[in-house]
Amino acid sequence: MSIIKVKNLKKYYKVHEKEPGLKGSIKSLFSRKYKEVKAVNNISFEVKEGELVGFIGPNGAGKTTTLKCLSGLLYPTSGTVEVLGFTPWDRKAAFQKQFSLVMGQKNQLWWDLPPIETFILNKEIYEIPDNQYQKILKKLVKLLDVQKILNIQVRKLSLGQRMKCELIAALIHNPKVLFLDEPTIGLDVVMQKTVRDFIKDYNKQFKSTILLTSHYMGDVKKLAKRVIIIDSGTLLFDGNLQDVIDRFARNKIISLVFSKEINQRELAEFGDVREYQYPKARINVPRNQAAKKASDLLDKFPVADLVIEEPPIEAIIREVFTGKMKSSKKR
């Protein structure tokens, strides 16, 4: 059963374009030029209960705007959205008690107080019964290992510690739907792993539906089987991560180890040489010719080892975003 239904969602903004400098500022006092930004442009998708979906796109793609429409923070220009049977922008308390939005760079913890005070406040706001609160808090504190910092002022905590406490504050009411907007932004690699592991465990333990936006492919690869790719407000792809490779990857990579020195120029006849440092080399070859190219390389050169690989998912996504390849959308 789909818990999130988005149909023909559009969100357009009118933004003021100002010419640079003082002259531009004075001119804008009397006559303003506006342009329409199509932040979200006719996207549709559905998410089933318990799914963990990666929502990826470059800066300005429309990911956060979409999440904000789903959270009820923004009224769309047109289209319909249904989350847990509610229209989000009606902002009904019954809906708001069942979802949570975590934005990596916006904090809900009270800056001058220990995190535990925000948790207590949220307990009252979300009307969580005492025993449920204690149970959830204990579980989350253990999962994130933050017992020692609960009573330390938030302003004295590190970014990683704050992020962990932000997650607890956002999850203390055990939401059925979780929107995570760049949850690992700015965190070091160790903390990124901690947060990812936590999200995966949380999804498993609590069967919550999670929609996660991120620039870091590591987040998506680790967490999401399904990805939705959005760019310039338009949905480019919605399907399994593996299908992204099948749909968009034009090339394969052949990694070689030579037993003798070779002429690099001769190697270039077989494909795009990405790297050559004797005895190793890597070349890009068209996907449908990979097997034949590999056979030809083995015939022509003294090859000690040969591996055919898919390109890294990051490279494929980058090419999708830079418009080097376009494809139609859905699964």
């Binding site: 923070l73 308390a93 979802f99 934005m103 904090n107 107080l113 005070e117 207590i120 979300y126 907007d181």
Partner: protein, 262 residues
């Protein structure tokens, strides 16, 4: 209702905790507030060295107005200022997002989350001024007079809050609107003096259009045993109407909220 009272109590509690963490800040601002009030009292002392009454109001009666003015400072600067100031800031920075996803009346959350105790001395000094003025004028209010005065004070506070919050909702249309939060408090200069001080068109405006001068005059008239029922009815009507309008206007205004990038 019980839930909201409990939440407000939590907000006050956290504000106390924060104030105690920054006690130097609390002490300095308390001293500044007290300093300003003393200057104002000195001003009225000087004024009444030269006259016995203004528009039929004697020195003790005008001092009563000052006492209520000081007590209202706690409402303005203690209960409301940080919250009102925060509204355009939250809109500009996009941190309004955090508030609007909470399952609670958002007007309540935006209006009462922060409480500043710096102005508690204002209230205490205001109360002392009222007691001093009653002694000076040899005025003994009746229990009914005191009760009605307190009721009028509460209604006046509701009117001030509603008017101020309604003004702040304008910020939802603009990405940035610095100083909007100064507009409504600026009107308090008018309620420093009794309502009868105003004549002609101004009197009409401050009675039927923007009855801000009634917020101090009506409670004082009850204490003086001169209940002004018409003014009380006007103030009550405006308090209720403005409160209802503020709620409607807020729900209309947030449709124009466009958030901000992270």
């Amino acid at each position: 209702m019980k839930r909201y009272l409990k939440l407000y109590w939590l907000f006050i509690k956290y504000s106390v905790v924060r104030a105690m963490m920054y006690k130097e800040d609390f002490i300095i601002w308390s001293l500044v507030s007290i300093g300003w009030m003393i200057l104002m009292l000195v001003f009225y002392q000087l004024l009444f060295l030269n006259v016995d009454s203004i528009a039929g109001w004697t020195k003790p009666q005008v001092l009563l107005i000052q006492g209520f003015y000081f007590m209202l400072e706690l409402v303005l600067w203690g209960a409301l200022w940080e919250n009102m100031r925060g509204i355009p800031e939250k809109i500009n920075k996009g941190t309004m997002d955090i508030e609007l996803i909470k399952p609670i009346n958002h007007q309540f959350l935006l209006s009462f989350k922060d409480f500043s105790f710096d102005n508690m001395p204002n209230f205490i000094l205001g109360l002392f001024t009222v007691i001093y003025a009653l002694n000076l004028g040899q005025i003994t209010p009746t229990p009914m007079g005191i009760s009605l005065s307190i009721l009028a004070f509460i209604i006046a506070s509701i009117y001030i809050y509603s008017g101020w919050f309604t003004t702040m909702c304008i910020a939802f249309w603009f990405d940035r609107f610095d100083n909007l939060h100064y507009f409504f408090p600026g009107l308090r200069q008018f309620w420093k003096v009794p309502h009868p001080f105003y004549k002609g068109v101004l009197r009409g405006i401050f009675t039927f259009v923007l009855p801000v001068t009634l917020v101090t005059t009506v409670p004082v008239e009850f204490l003086l045993g001169r209940p002004q029922w018409t003014w009380f009815a006007i103030l009550t009507f405006f308090a209720i109407a403005t409160l209802k309008f503020s709620s409607w206007f807020f729900n209309f205004a947030i449709k124009h909220y466009s958030s901000a990038s992270s």
